[in-house]
Amino acid sequence: MKKKSTLAILLVASANAAVAGPIEEQIRFRQSAYSFAAWNISKIKEQVVNHPETFNKDSVAAAANAIAAVANSGLGALYGEGTDKGVGWKQTRLKPEFFQKKEEVTVAANAFNVAANELAKVAATGDVNAIKTQFGKVGESCKGCHDLIRINE
């Protein structure tokens, strides 16, 4: 279900860039989304990996839910035609190849969805070791897209 919706959003976005508004706005929204996810990722990293003695079940569960919410929000809509160039909060690092690699991107993006949703599920149990393992998988799924379509600075 989620896979289908992500794919649909990507296709709609590519068919009609106007759906998500001007280029700069799309870039700004997606940068904000990843930035918000980064804050939540840092909480889990800190409380589960770096300093497990500070683990707070509610805080980590809330963070995992936030990451899943970002993943499920249909980010594909923010990748309209022409959004490989432009300034949101800063210059976008989207590779122009993004638009030729739609299928690979869809696979990588879905991997993030699946991993993030699973993390939310695992976080609800409060099992630190299980959260740690799944958190690593989320990191791998982030890297999947970064390696594929993000410009090296």
Partner: protein
């Protein structure tokens, strides 16, 4: 007539093989990412320690480990290319390769200390720079790697070339520390090639390298605390 001499001392050989193993491992962990990125960071710190050790050892190690013995000066390079160079350890081109590898690794480790992966990893000195500068250094970290890879390939090709064309095995001496050379050559060049290094020098080198690693991996942050993301990340859940 040939004689066997001690050319690479044990710390030098250990350095070499540990470096080869840890650089390989850090490449693999970076490629896989995820939870392994933390091991990439630890390996980077270990490589830092190895590099500092090698630099110190380049001054106080045994003869053929010292920079003065093999540093590729212009006159040595010219002599070598004209076929007039005589020596036992690194030849000037080999010396150039050693210096290039060490310098590149130093840049690689140096940038890595400040890097971040925009996922869940920050180098141990990340908090000392702006995020945007860290991003820039991360970019260099990625780019310099390609250069490092090229140097490593050149290093391996040279070893195969020496084996196949020049009929010289460079790998065995790096394992055993011993090398067979013609007596005439041994008499023609420096006579102190069998000189050892003594435990004090080894201990001093280890102290210096482990102090540097301790410093960047947390010591500096303890002495000079900076605002870090840790405070935000550790904050108790908010009521709204």
């Amino acid at each position: 007539m040939k004689i066997t001499i001690h050319i690479w001392d044990l710390p030098h050989r250990l350095f070499h093989w540990l470096l080869a193993a840890s650089v390989t491992a850090s490449y693999i962990t970076a490629k896989i990412g995820g939870a392994l990125i933390d091991w990439h960071g630890r390996l980077g710190l270990f490589i830092l320690g190895l590099l500092v050790f090698r630099i110190v050892w380049g001054f106080i190690g045994s003869t053929h480990s010292r920079f003065v013995t093999f540093f590729p000066t212009f006159s040595r390079l010219v002599a070598y290319l004209k076929g007039r160079w005589q020596g036992i350890g690194h030849n000037p081109l080999g010396g150039l390769s050693v210096i290039a590898l060490l310098a590149t690794l130093a840049v690689q480790v140096g940038t890595g200390l400040f890097a971040n992966d925009d996922i869940a990893f920050e180098g141990p000195l990340f908090d000392f720079v702006d995020k945007s500068f860290s991003d820039q250094l991360t970019g260099w970290h990625n780019t310099v790697f390609d250069f490092l890879l090229a140097l490593v390939v050149l290093h391996l090709v040279a070893i195969i070339f020496y084996r196949g064309v020049k009929k010289t095995n460079l790998v065995v001496p790096m394992l055993t520390g011993k090398k067979k050379i013609p007596i005439a050559l041994a008499e023609a060049v420096a006579t102190d090639h069998d000189k050892g290094f003594g435990p004090l020098r080894l201990i001093l080198s280890l102290i210096i390298s482990s102090t540097v690693v301790w410093g960047v991996s947390g010591g500096i942050s303890q002495l000079y605390p900076v605002q870090s993301q840790q405070q935000i990340a550790q904050a108790a859940p908010s009521s709204f």
